[in-house]
Symmetry: D2
Amino acid sequence: MCGIFGYIGKGEASKITAMGLFMLQHRGQESCGIAVSNGKKIKLIKELGYVKEVFYEERVDELDGFAAIGHVRYPTRGKPTIENSQPHLIETLSGPAYAFASNGDVVNYKMLREKYEGKGVFFHSDNDGELIGRMLVYKVERENKSTEDAVEEIMEEVKGAFSALFMTKDRIYAFRDPFGFRPMIFGKTEDGLAIASESVAMDILRIKNWREVEPAELLILTKNGARDVKFNGEKLRKRKETAHCSFEIIYFARPDSYQYHQFVHDKRVLLGEKLAEKDNVEADAVVPVPDSSNFMALGYSRKRRIPLCFGLIRSHYIGRTFITPSQSVRDESVRQKFNPLYRFFHEKRIILVDDSIVRGTTIRKIVRMIKGAGAKEVHVRIASPPVKFPCRYGIDTPTFEELIANRMTVEEIRKFIEADSLLYLTVDELKEVLDSPQDFCYACFNGEYPILEKE
Amino acid sequence: MCGIFGYIGKGEASKITAMGLFMLQHRGQESCGIAVSNGKKIKLIKELGYVKEVFYEERVDELDGFAAIGHVRYPTRGKPTIENSQPHLIETLSGPAYAFASNGDVVNYKMLREKYEGKGVFFHSDNDGELIGRMLVYKVERENKSTEDAVEEIMEEVKGAFSALFMTKDRIYAFRDPFGFRPMIFGKTEDGLAIASESVAMDILRIKNWREVEPAELLILTKNGARDVKFNGEKLRKRKETAHCSFEIIYFARPDSYQYHQFVHDKRVLLGEKLAEKDNVEADAVVPVPDSSNFMALGYSRKRRIPLCFGLIRSHYIGRTFITPSQSVRDESVRQKFNPLYRFFHEKRIILVDDSIVRGTTIRKIVRMIKGAGAKEVHVRIASPPVKFPCRYGIDTPTFEELIANRMTVEEIRKFIEADSLLYLTVDELKEVLDSPQDFCYACFNGEYPILEKE
Amino acid sequence: MCGIFGYIGKGEASKITAMGLFMLQHRGQESCGIAVSNGKKIKLIKELGYVKEVFYEERVDELDGFAAIGHVRYPTRGKPTIENSQPHLIETLSGPAYAFASNGDVVNYKMLREKYEGKGVFFHSDNDGELIGRMLVYKVERENKSTEDAVEEIMEEVKGAFSALFMTKDRIYAFRDPFGFRPMIFGKTEDGLAIASESVAMDILRIKNWREVEPAELLILTKNGARDVKFNGEKLRKRKETAHCSFEIIYFARPDSYQYHQFVHDKRVLLGEKLAEKDNVEADAVVPVPDSSNFMALGYSRKRRIPLCFGLIRSHYIGRTFITPSQSVRDESVRQKFNPLYRFFHEKRIILVDDSIVRGTTIRKIVRMIKGAGAKEVHVRIASPPVKFPCRYGIDTPTFEELIANRMTVEEIRKFIEADSLLYLTVDELKEVLDSPQDFCYACFNGEYPILEKE
Amino acid sequence: MCGIFGYIGKGEASKITAMGLFMLQHRGQESCGIAVSNGKKIKLIKELGYVKEVFYEERVDELDGFAAIGHVRYPTRGKPTIENSQPHLIETLSGPAYAFASNGDVVNYKMLREKYEGKGVFFHSDNDGELIGRMLVYKVERENKSTEDAVEEIMEEVKGAFSALFMTKDRIYAFRDPFGFRPMIFGKTEDGLAIASESVAMDILRIKNWREVEPAELLILTKNGARDVKFNGEKLRKRKETAHCSFEIIYFARPDSYQYHQFVHDKRVLLGEKLAEKDNVEADAVVPVPDSSNFMALGYSRKRRIPLCFGLIRSHYIGRTFITPSQSVRDESVRQKFNPLYRFFHEKRIILVDDSIVRGTTIRKIVRMIKGAGAKEVHVRIASPPVKFPCRYGIDTPTFEELIANRMTVEEIRKFIEADSLLYLTVDELKEVLDSPQDFCYACFNGEYPILEKE
């Protein structure tokens, strides 16, 4: 999972892009980068670290230009190195004249890489973004194709998810794969044009009239405005329906974002309500695992009229787990992140709401911690279906073996996490909550992959 | 406002201290430091930055020893320099043999500094912690007093707030001023003894039987156990009552902490309820300014049966304000921190709950932002009395002139912050919520300073 | 003035190149760089600083490969930036597949740069080496010419001095301009082939049977051996004679080098003798300005049987001038470099031998310093003719106006430098000392430039 | 071996000290440091590295004050760490109020360290300079002695060599051990007073009327002038004669220095002449090992009327040995430093003059290199006696076992170094050259140590 942002317009392109990336920080904390064009050449800064640490004022000031694209990375394909970070700056005899950034994952990466290496193209990284970027430059510089044609060929050749930005010295090409796996928003400021992974990044720019970039759509952004090219998505994906990522709605997106034509927080409240509807366990309090399941817990609490309580206090200063002395509490890695209210849980029957269970280890630690704090019963409620299959389109889920729901029944999971009861949503219940449910991908829940490597 | 942590026992003292400071990070983000003793000399590392950035594993490993004291700093007296950071390492011909860290503020700093400079004592910083530390060493090394006697003299000479840790090569002296302004907790692990500003730092160490260090109490901690000295608090403070900081309960402490013999989150729920009791404005939703007023909003919502909503999404990645391009939203510094749910506020009447108003500029930006998002009415509810007087005991409140409640009536403040109505608690209502209200300091609300420079 | 070194063979190419550059450090102290190929891609490290500081062991170990080219830079064209440093790594869609380094200066740089920018070639620097390198890549990649043909075209198009190394992934092309301005040596080790600016770099590699690369010669070096291409030098330069730089013999080359078919130190002794032959001033001691005129002073001293004395002690630790407090001696910048023996000069008549006078400011400071040390007379003897014209072929001489001999007669110079007498060699006397004098360039002495921009 | 410099006067003390240290760089290249006082506190900067690298302009500007002491270190006692570098800043409750720097070595270090640790003094390093410095502060601060009395006690208690500078906030105490092992010069500028290890450092400051600080002398330098205290040297050293280091004259001092009442270069010419007087080997050229034996070779050459030749070219860029690829010449570490003139040595009989032989390995490499360059005979002439005993007074000679002359006869050494003949001076011949020879130490040649640990 990653985030992208692009801007072209009057001045300050890199500053606006830094701000946009900052609002997308939740989509990737490993590294970030911005490439900016002043019309003569493209300059790139990318580093491991958070946006606000990498792009402090003086740093952004180095990046003058009217067009910029940026990226925050959450590692999927390739090692956590600067080379594998995005954007990619692509240099030819014409200079540093192209930059590329993408959110997604390429299913037929290996085959395509070998094919283009065979044509003499050199790759600096193992990253799928670099692959698409250099394919485009190859088509344009060596095969003398128009960029529009090159993008259309990419939509045919590249199997997988890509919400992509390709910048030349004077324009930005923004395009999204035919399935529309990952989100992509287009907006207009008074002075320019912007592209972002999520609508929250538009908010900070005073943009109200943004819209989604459609699957199989290409937007050509220049200083003078945007031109729109819509390829035949149905033909390109060989089916009618798109495949929006349902997990974005459940977990990944910020609650204040609009994605796939729906408001994320609304859907999360509904998921909590849906869960409540089929539940009747008696309890004294509903406690969310903060902050990702706050809206789900709120929906559940309201529906069932059991009071919502902030029983777990989340530390704002944790990223990765901090050092852990042997004298500290067992399961201290969870304790550093969440601390239970002292005496609150004493003798209480608790509904603990979370958005999903992947490996099951964290929720087990939380259950234990709550019981250690005196809770009489802990009933775990998950506002999504069991995650049984790895994602192939850009979310860093673990392997089959690591997914607890792949190797255990719900009852076995309940025992493993030491809960008194455990309830999930079904895929059908999830669908009932979403608008246009047929246009979503549920592969991680039901294994129905919309696209595979050998196709 | 700052946080302190100390540990003496079997091994890993600096690791345990780093962990303890991490749990106290909310009390100070400017700088942090740890001094550790291995019995032969004391070593110190302190830096500007967060605990988890400064004290990564390799760094802590450099600090071997069985006793350590640490500090997180929120600047009060002195500039934000490393010299003004704590702990202070005090070196004499006996080597780096003493370290000192304190939470509080010294009222008669100037007079004491001149007095001890006159005795030939050199100060590296303008920090009040260094003052008390070097006064102690002067008394011990130059005047050949016992450390107990020296601490007692400090309790007489030093006017102000200090929850302090003084470490020699083989022991830690923990003591608290006679008024008990700032919190201080003492706990025992299986292997050692710990002191912390708040009880949350004990949680991570599996310590259940902690207790407060009493005002005017001195604890002498060695590898073999603790010895207790209780000075005559009433005589030292020339009055019966202590002066616990009521603002800790309202804002500063973590909600999951226990302070001054009460649970912070309980009191915050009660403050919200107290506010609700005297309110009757009609509204559609109660929205907290996250996360500091979450419990207050919960109490208010429950009492008035108006639904609680998370209408503002807080960014987890902001510390100080990030760079701000001119094209971004006005009041973007608040927008980077809080973003409103899109369409949620539309045509709604909102109860906006916050813990306090200091300058009034932030709440005004939030009110404007919510109205910009379509709210019909915004009623601001503050779960504490107006802050009219600067704190002199360790909280970094601004000057008289900057405190909005010092120069405006409530109605004028309401107009300034552009709210439709504004309601505060009274000091008496605050007192009704606290246990042993006579033992608290309300100086920032009513100007009744328990202790002044010239006394 | 710069130095180049290249090696291809069995392993350790970058280590050998670092060693070679170290021996050429006197030719350029501003920056240094090494590009190395492992057959798949070319890696480059270049930095401001000395060879032994930049290329410490761990650094060189990063540069594995069987072929390498390196450069030490003494700035001529372009600012002292890393971009203007050499070698240049040239990247295309084929990757970082070419590197280029050159010693010399291009007379028609401006015209050629504009011409190739017009063809879409992008330049990262203002350096003439990058110009030739990218011209070669353009001819090979875009015009599909053979590298041999491309080099021959360079010899026609590029006016000026270039002793150049062009590396592809698997070979090194070494070539020298038709005039042979700057030196270039080719040698064979047991395991490989080497190219260097001066023969001293061959000494360290145990290479005895080196030879000069001839003007207009191209050597194609591979792991399997060298192939030789000799272009028609006379036709390319439109005249019979080459134009070796006579200033290399006088000053620039190390005395232990062999250049243009002659031993440098032998020639320097002869220059001193030639000066002595026409001199009859009475004196007590011959003192060289160390170390550059040591051999000249030795020749002078022997011929005139006046004792040689090391009256000036040279500091080994000075590079650029160190900080200078106002209390220190006047002309302290010279004093930091040269210190006179205390009492040695007292009442003595001194013959002060130097290799050349450029601006006249340094020699004046030395004369003053010697007189200040008590010398009765100081007779300055310069073992070369007056430098009246700027070099256009790679030596960083100042402008016309700054050259003292351009605006003053010898007698005026004598007065300016405060010497009791001053004697230079004539150009004819210089020619008498050199072998094949017709093959040398004396433009800086007599203004007869062998090649001009507009030709 | 180390170098010290101190200055007190009107302004720029640290700049003048940096300049002075720069002129003493040959006495120590490992680390350097400057401590400066502005009357209120003492500030110290010390680092590994050369003076001109550590003390660049901006760095020195940080060090404002009117008094400064500095040190360049050549490691003797203790590891090459910053802690063991000098000067030492000594902090007490009075602040960073003392600094100390010394050139020499303490024979009874271990005994004294234990004694003062027993008194509660803490040491940060293993350096003998810190020992003397803290002993002084102990006597002054804890025993309330005057500094004059404290220095006199040091002269009694500390056995060994020390030319020392002790700085308080407002003055510098400069003193020299009773034996006068290491040099120490005192001079007056127009604006202040200076102390230096060698007179060359005075030259740069325009000081002509400097004098030696006498053995057992203490100079108290203030802004208003110097006061002189002469202790009874004969009584303190229990004998009449001092023990100046004869090796300073032979090798260590710069040739342009004046030390122990004699000019170093004059003595070196005489040492070369003395060697010539007793020699009659036939030869074609006298070649010095540059630059340390240049004057010796000059004296030898003149006396025997055999021409002096610069047959070895010394690189100015080598410090420590550079990386060495396996393909390079054997003995390349010497080759990097000295390169023979090509063809010069061919069939010649060479007199190779060097100042001394310690381990014998370098001279062997040079002899081999010269023979490899074609020399018919190489006759090694050493202008000092065989070094058989380690120095205990500040020169970093190796152990007994490593000193070649300790385990081999002259004939065995000759064979080892592969010379055709080898001639040394005798100790008596060395004495004949020195003025007041009875006042010198020859312990490294004859084992007659003037002072031992147990005395």
